[in-house]
């Protein structure tokens, strides 16, 4: 696969497309998260903090995007598309297919030279911002490469700095970790490295599959201290695992990594730091709305589910699947052909089987656009019969992980809402959608188009 961008190239591309703001003014480290969160809340651009206390340049929102409850011009996945080397206006389905590519085909990464160089700075001197005032410096959207003596495994990781040479990280609990394992934490890695890795661990923890690999031809790799790492990582901290599963991460609430899978806390003793010149690192203000980790997990899980559903029955009924960041991944929206009466039940329960994140699914007709969230937010209320099409399971289903209720894991009901036309209905029962095109003949639309400028609207 070609064309995927390094983190640095992604940020530079966002800059050229006016979707990144560089704040030259010095911003205190403890304010970086708040500024990033406010930018997201304002549907603003990604933010690059040029003047901070350390050597890293934090970037917030590089993989995030705007919400679609107030507008549809900007798409939530545009920055992800840019990171994958695509134009920001590509259709959602193309981004999803790119993210899911490792499920369809195993490819090998190119070997390359590590771009980072060894440095004598310690972990504190990197200048990573804290998650919140008074908390230790934090890192986000990291990859932990773990060497078990035979091969390197990549793990999604976030965490904090616990000392000049000590890091504490949250990683998937299912990872085969042992004290003394050689590890390297990479920060500022390509988005494809993150989606590949999250895709692997979501699939592994939610459906038991060992595919796909965390590595593909989308990310060139290099060797460092005997481990395979993304070649263009911005910062790398190499060392070995110390304590596993005994510590807790101080401070802030959990991220989408903890929501998406069972996690463990590990401590890392760092013996060397590498970084590129003026390294850029992503920073996620945890638990704020619309953050990078929500988008990352949401789009990766959407890609995974669409691939799985469309490779399940021998046909491909699902047009698109979205876990909207607006709903913090607690709801799945799927547009699908309804093959026969009752298919919506099969579809919903297949999705529930494949993912533990959500317990609410909204099913839409296949011709519904993925690019316009307002349509689902209309159809859910007007198209689904309030009793017949809101379908609750018996209260024995496993608890979902995104919602904030039944967090003790006690079982309960799931809900799917079918805002689709009943395939048993006669054609004349189906209400035509009113659109500009259906409301006005060609001649009227042409007249309006031709005269519009002369009307003098602002």
């Amino acid at each position: 696969m070609t064309g995927t961008r390094s983190f640095r190239d992604s940020v530079d591309t966002l800059d050229t497309k006016d979707d990144l703001l560089t704040i030259e003014e010095r911003v205190q480290s403890e304010d970086i998260g708040a500024v990033g969160a406010e930018a997201l809340r304002s549907n603003g651009p990604a933010i690059r903090f040029a003047a901070t206390d350390g050597i890293v340049t934090p970037v917030t929102g590089a993989l995030a995007g705007p919400e679609q409850t107030t507008q549809s011009q900007q798409k939530p996945w545009e920055r992800m598309a840019v990171a994958f080397g695509m134009q920001p206006d590509v259709p959602y389905q193309r981004v999803i297919e790119r993210v899911a590519a490792p499920l369809a085909e195993t490819t090998e990464p190119d070997q390359a030279e590590l771009l980072a160089e060894q440095s004598d700075v310690n972990c504190y001197e990197l200048g990573l911002p804290p998650g919140a005032p008074g908390e230790p410096p934090a890192f986000s959207l990291g990859l932990l490469a773990v060497d078990d003596g035979e091969e390197t495994t990549w793990l999604p990781a976030r965490g904090t700095v616990r000392g000049p040479n000590r890091l504490r990280a949250v990683v998937p609990a299912a990872a085969p970790l042992e004290s003394g394992n050689g590890v390297t934490l990479s920060l500022g890695v390509p988005a494809a490295a993150l989606t590949n890795t999250v895709l692997h661990w979501l699939d592994r923890t939610q459906t038991g599959s060992m595919r796909p690999s965390t590595r593909s031809d989308a990310v060139s790799v290099a060797q460092l201290a005997g481990q395979t790492v993304p070649a263009d990582s911005e910062v790398l901290a190499t060392g070995e695992l110390a304590d596993i599963g005994t510590g807790v991460l101080a401070g802030d609430e959990s991220s989408m990594l903890e929501v998406a899978m069972d996690t463990a806390v590990v401590d890392i003793v760092v013996d060397s730091v590498h970084h590129r010149k003026s390294p850029l690192v992503p920073f996620v203000p945890n638990s704020a709305p619309l953050t990078d980790d929500i988008h990352l997990v949401g789009i990766t899980e959407s890609a995974r589910l669409r691939y799985r559903v469309n490779n399940y029955w021998g046909i491909e009924p699902a047009e698109w699947i979205r876990l909207p960041a607006e709903a913090s991944l607690g709801m799945c929206v799927v547009a699908s052909e309804i093959l026969y009466a009752g298919f919506e039940w099969q579809l919903a329960n297949t999705l529930f089987s494949f993912s533990k994140l959500f317990d609410k699914i909204l099913i839409l007709d296949e011709d519904t656009s993925a690019a316009d969230l307002s349509r689902p937010l209309d159809d859910i209320w007007v198209k689904a019969h309030p009793s017949q099409d809101w379908v609750f399971s018996e209260p024995c289903a496993p608890a979902a992980t995104a919602p904030r209720y039944r967090t003790d894991g006690s079982p309960g009901s799931r809900l799917f809402i079918s805002a689709t036309w009943d395939p048993r209905w006669d054609e004349e029962y189906i209400a035509p959608r009113v659109t500009y095109e259906t409301s006005y003949p060609d001649a009227v639309r042409q007249t309006v188009t031709e005269m519009w400028d002369s009307f003098g609207f602002d």
Partner: protein, 509 residues
């Protein structure tokens, strides 16, 4: 007293002038036909969130003018133009607007009755030689059953008391003297017609005020209690008496500055086709239905009258139109007041912007199941609720106008086990203006209610008692958040884009 030193406008055309003064009105002098073109231009204007179009030339045979969705507000503040009409241009926030409207609705004033000679709506009086179709009623969507008057106030007297109800019911024009009027049982005026006049085989005297002053239009959209004088509420809303004048052919009092008054009777046991019609939730719901017949007895109007209209369905999605703006500007504060007056601890009621009159969101300080149940029951039994299937309850620190936050609350806090109520119990009435019932379920509609029942549902998306909102610890600090916004604004970011936020600093918009 207005908050900006300028009072409420006294007429629809004064409202247009005020819009013009603020650069928010586009008077189009070129010929634009009433036949779909005016609607198409209005729809595009709605989508573009631009000025209100006034069509000065729409027909060879009439000098009447059309105005497309005159009360549509800006996308981020849909109440803004109505606020301007009511002399509230200085109000900055939705909360401030709500409280001002609530205060005014609480303070009704007596209207005044003026002589015919002083009433602009009687510039021209036609009691014999009138022709309903001489006016350029707009044809709105190519699939519509006919041409409509759909932005007006229907004035009807109760048969048995002195009460007069003002409401809004669209009318499809049929010929020189007749129209069919959408009367859906369950609402006040339709109930008076179906269960009083028609049962006694009597016609219901009515007047339709087209282009009435904004305060009148607002009250027509509100849920004014039965028996209360709606003109008093309109007067309270504008902080000065509304001027009324008596009809030519019946005893009804009508707004004296209205552009056109259609006087007539809604006949008993007489029906004409109504619809199809591109309705407010984005689908063309058929089939044609039989609705009561309005027989016109007289028409009075101002010189070169303006006929306002709304392009329904254009508010579905991200655009606003008159319907969705009036839902926010009129129904929202009025219903909030009504619920508070009934003793419920309600912060705010907000219509869902993507599908008006189908779901409302209520922020409340209580999450007690019995309180929410009582609140839901109260709401669902009020008039107009045959339209509404859903209510969503959120915590008082969740802005019900912040759809992302509401969606998140439903996704993360509404447990399918315990928080979705009344699903499955198909025991409630429903208007046939829906797309989820089959024609057989809707039945042969005679009174505007479906043959089949439906379910009314409320969703408790509040957090458990004591649970804090999870929006990131760093964002709950008002001082830090304000500093962050200052940094962004200094760097050129408009922090009022995107979602409104309530985190102790008040609304961002």
């Amino acid at each position: 007293m207005s908050t900006d030193g300028i009072g409420a406008v006294d007429s629809f055309r004064e409202y247009l002038d005020r819009l013009s003064d603020h650069g928010q009105c586009n008077r189009i002098e070129e010929r634009i036909s009433w036949n779909l073109e005016a609607s198409a231009v209005t729809m595009r204007a709605n989508e573009c969130d631009t000025q209100i179009p006034v069509f000065e030339d729409v027909s060879d045979t009439s000098d009447s003018r059309l105005v497309g969705d005159p009360y549509r507000g800006p996308r981020r503040k849909p109440w803004k133009r109505i606020a301007m009409a009511l002399g509230l241009a200085d109000v900055k926030t939705t909360d401030g607007y709500y409280e001002e409207i609530i205060d005014r609705v609480r303070s009704p004033l007596s209207p005044t009755v003026i002589d015919d000679d002083d009433a602009p709506c009687k510039d021209t009086v036609r009691t014999d030689d009138f022709d309903l179709l001489s006016f350029p009623w707009p044809f709105l969507h190519v699939g519509d059953g006919g041409r409509y008057s759909n932005l007006h106030t229907l004035i009807a007297a109760d048969r048995d008391t002195a009460w007069t109800d003002w409401s809004s019911h669209r009318a499809m024009l049929h010929d020189n003297t007749r129209a069919s009027v959408l009367l859906l049982a369950g609402e006040q005026t339709p109930n008076i017609y179906y269960y009083k006049y028609e049962r006694h085989d009597e016609p219901m005297p009515v007047a339709i005020a087209i282009g009435a002053e904004p305060a009148v239009e607002c009250v027509s959209a509100m849920w004014i209690p039965t028996g209360r004088d709606e003109a008093e509420f309109a007067s309270g809303l504008k902080r000065e008496p509304v001027e009324l004048v008596q009809c030519e052919s019946n005893d009804l009092l009508v707004p004296a500055t209205a552009e056109i008054i259609l006087e007539g009777r809604i006949l008993p046991n007489s029906r004409l086709d109504e619809g199809p019609y591109g309705d407010y939730f984005g689908y063309m719901h058929g089939p044609r239905r039989s609705m009561p017949v309005l027989e016109i007895d007289a028409i009075t109007h101002r010189d070169r009258p303006y006929i306002p209209f709304r392009v329904e369905w254009s508010e579905v999605g991200y655009a606003h139109n008159t319907t969705s703006s009036m839902e926010v500007a009129c129904v929202g504060p009025d219903a909030t007041l009504g619920l508070r007056a009934a003793g419920f601890d309600v912060e705010k009621l907000a219509p869902w912007p993507f599908s008006p009159r189908t779901v409302y969101v209520i922020s409340t300080a209580t999450s007690r199941p019995d309180k929410l149940h009582e609140l839901a029951n109260f709401i669902f039994t009020t008039w107009g609720m045959l339209h509404v299937d859903f209510f969503v309850f959120v915590d008082e620190d969740v802005d019900p106008f912040n759809q992302r936050a509401v969606l998140e609350a439903i996704a993360l806090h509404a447990d399918p086990d315990t928080d979705f109520h009344q699903f499955g119990a198909e025991s409630m009435p429903k208007v046939p203006l829906n797309i989820y019932q089959t024609p057989e379920e809707k039945g042969d509609v005679q009174m505007g209610t479906s043959k089949s029942k439906t379910a009314k549902t409320y969703i408790d998306a509040t957090r458990p008692d004591g649970a804090e909102r999870r929006t990131g610890g760093l964002n709950m600090d008002g001082e830090r958040r304000e500093r962050a916004r200052e940094i962004l604004e200094t760097a050129g970011i408009d922090t009022e884009r995107g979602e409104p936020v309530k985190t102790g600093l008040g609304e961002s918009q």
